[in-house]
């Protein structure tokens, strides 16, 4: 009898729907929407924990301050160099690795599994690993470079501006290449063999087959990878925290690090949140740019 009543219930029940959805929606509002809105609200105020009673609405003044400060533009430049370097290397190396893992050769299965390991390592741990690698007195990198004759004496790689930023790029790339490789590998496996046969008959050599068949087929996957890697690069904080602390000097002070020290060292919550929003807007602009660049071509591949 009870079953029948349930089954017969065809009336829409908006009230029940709201009740059932409330916990999930409430959680989202509390943990995602509220902080986002609140941090924007803070970014419009002069609010420093050193003077916690002073909470004054100043409109976009924080943003104006940021954009007119040399500190911001310096950090923007460092971020740009770090991002272009790490994204470029990650995507190129990841794609090459994917191409390698897509070929048939003995041991491929093992390498496919092994290649994933760096991705499974949390960024902070990755930073610690590279701290050991780059260490000035006992570091592995020093040992390797000296034994192949690349350097005469051990170097403190993280203590010089010229090597600190490249070191960060390398650590970042090592961490993220597997992700790119897996995404690209998945896309590679969907390329129909017939296209290569056809290109062979059409007289395309191996490079042209790559540029005319493989690469266009990968455009969607590359788009995905570029967007996620850009977000990752612009937000990079962990390995800087562990490896350089933004130094030496401010040579590795990226925007995310500037946001962190503004907020938590200078306790300037207003400006810190303005920095966070600036990074978010920057990421959005870049994503739109990527999509416009690759979408049309990628869509054709479907």
């Amino acid at each position: 009898m009870a079953r029948k009543r349930w089954a017969a219930q065809t009336e829409p029940q908006p009230f029940l729907a709201f009740v059932l959805n409330t916990p999930a929606v409430g959680l989202l509002l509390l943990l995602v929407v509220y902080p986002i809105v609140y941090s924007f609200w803070l970014s419009l105020h002069a609010y420093n924990l050193r003077k916690p009673r002073q909470f004054e609405f100043i409109g976009l003044d924080n943003y104006a301050d940021i954009l007119s400060s040399g500190q911001f533009w310096h950090a923007a430049r460092v971020t740009a160099v770090f991002s272009v370097g790490s994204i470029g290397l990650t995507v190129v190396l990841g794609t090459l690795l994917a191409l390698l893992l897509n070929e048939k050769w003995p041991g491929r299965g093992v390498l496919r599994a092994v290649a994933l390991i760096p991705w499974a390592i949390p960024p902070v741990v990755n930073g610690l690993v590279w701290q050991w690698m780059l260490e000035g007195r006992h570091g592995l990198l020093n040992y390797i470079f000296q034994s192949i004759g690349l350097i005469d004496s051990y170097q403190a790689w993280l203590s010089y501006p010229e090597t600190a930023l490249p070191a960060l790029v390398i650590a970042q790339v090592w961490n993220h290449v597997p992700f790119v490789a897996i995404v690209i590998l998945a896309a590679l496996q969907t390329v129909p063999d017939e296209l290569y046969d056809s290109a062979l008959v059409d007289g395309a050599n191996i490079f042209r087959r790559f540029f005319f068949v493989t690469l266009p087929w990968l455009s969607h996957a590359l788009l995905l990878v570029l967007i996620t890697q850009t977000m990752v690069a612009l937000r990079t904080f962990d390995i800087i925290y562990v490896l350089t602390g933004g130094g030496p000097g401010d040579s590795t002070t990226v925007l995310a690090w500037l946001t962190y020290i503004t907020t938590f060292s200078y306790t300037d919550f207003g400006k810190g949140n303005a920095y966070a929003y600036t990074i978010a807007v920057l990421t959005m602009i870049l994503s739109v740019f990527y999509i416009r660049l690759l979408w049309k071509r990628g869509e054709m591949a479907k």
């Binding site: 129909p192 017939e194 296209l195 046969d197 056809s198 290109a199 062979l200 008959v201 059409d202 007289g203 395309a204 042209r208 005319f212 068949v213 266009p216 087929w217 455009s219 071509r297 054709m300 591949a301 479907k302």
Partner: protein
């Protein structure tokens, strides 16, 4: 245009043999269909002609030139693939001109040749479109356009119609045949569909398990199949096959145990042998003195009615009548083969007697 000669071509994948010495002489301008069930090696053979697979032993020549080690692009062939293999990010025009572009032809020449091919195939309105914006039939036509743009010596088709619906398949069949008549280019066409083979080919090559069962004109294969495989593969509905013993007399006959089928003109030397009798469904007629049978199923197709009948002990035969006999399941009938329409095969070897 060119003749294609295949001499004792063998192919093995590792230790698994796929082709056991295949020889075919394809004349210049001929339309040859390779047909057979899946796994018979027909696609492998086509890919060997294209240069996409190596030849283990033997020889393939296009024109006078042995091409065993010549790469595909230098064989002067064009190939149409089962799934069309259109480059998804290129327009129809770019797809069709790709091979010419790869060989470094000037842009004006490419444009002119693409336009000419497009006009032959009525593709002009679609030149700026992308493959995904086309229907299956249009994609198929673009794939053909890509082949004819190059004006090759040989066209290779690998099951090009298997992804189309039945109606479109019939239409494209006609189009391909018409195109061949118009261009006169040597064509090698692979299919598993014997009707496609029968309707399109100048000559059919029937393949089975890596060997050629028979080569011949469509009606030749239909009228005088060389063995039981060809007999049962060609023709739809399939030929009725009954096992029995050939017995002598005024008119020799085959005794199947349930029925006696007269085989006038059977060789006296074969008397006493175990044989297989083949009778095409349309060769069976209703006759008073024929083999007693019981109607099991009646299938009217419009043009004819197919009658599946039990001649005893669960042995079914199929008969096709052009007259619209009013037959019901369970009705007793008598069936006899039309005179001279009986095929006789050796039971052991399957070879035609």
């Amino acid at each position: 245009m060119a003749a294609v000669t295949i001499r004792k071509a063998h192919k093995t994948y590792g230790a698994t043999p796929v082709l056991h010495g295949v020889s075919i002489d394809i004349e210049d301008g001929e339309f040859v269909v390779l047909v057979g069930p899946s796994g018979c090696g027909k696609s492998t053979l086509l890919r060997m002609i294209a240069g996409l697979e190596h030849i283990t032993t033997g020889e393939i020549a296009i024109g006078d030139k042995v091409v065993n080690t010549v790469p595909p692009k230098e064989r002067d062939i064009a190939m149409v693939f089962q799934n069309y293999a259109l480059y998804p990010h290129m327009t129809v025009a770019q797809n069709m001109g790709f091979a010419l572009r790869m060989s470094g032809r000037p842009k004006a020449e490419i444009d002119a040749r693409v336009r000419r091919a497009a006009s032959i195939l009525a593709l002009e309105p679609y030149l700026a479109r992308y493959p995904k914006q086309l229907s299956g039939g249009q994609r198929q036509r673009v794939a053909m356009g890509r082949a004819i743009v190059r004006d090759p010596s040989v066209f290779l088709f690998d099951e090009p119609l298997s992804n189309l619906d039945a109606k479109l398949r019939v239409q494209m069949r006609t189009e391909i045949k018409e195109l061949h008549q118009r261009l006169g280019t040597t064509t090698i066409y692979v299919t598993h569909d014997q009707i496609e083979a029968m309707t399109m080919a100048d000559r059919i090559v029937v393949m089975h398990d890596g060997v050629i069962e028979q080569i011949g004109a469509p009606l030749e294969l239909y009228d005088t199949p060389a063995n039981t495989f060809v007999a049962s593969f060609i023709g739809s509905p399939a030929m009725n096959m009954l096992k029995g013993t050939l017995k002598g007399g005024d008119i020799p006959f085959v005794d199947t145990g349930k029925a006696q089928i007269p085989v006038p003109g059977a060789a006296a030397a074969a008397v006493g042998r175990a044989v297989t009798v083949g009778i095409r469904p349309e060769s069976l007629e209703l006759a008073e003195n024929g083999i007693a049978a019981t109607v099991v199923v009646v299938e009217p197709t419009g043009a004819e009615i197919l009658v599946v009948a039990d001649i005893g002990g669960g042995t079914y035969v199929t008969a096709a009548f052009h007259q619209r006999y009013a037959l019901r399941p369970g009705a007793p009938i008598h069936l006899a083969p039309a005179p001279g329409q009986v095929h006789l095969f050796d039971d052991e070897t399957g070879i035609r007697l």
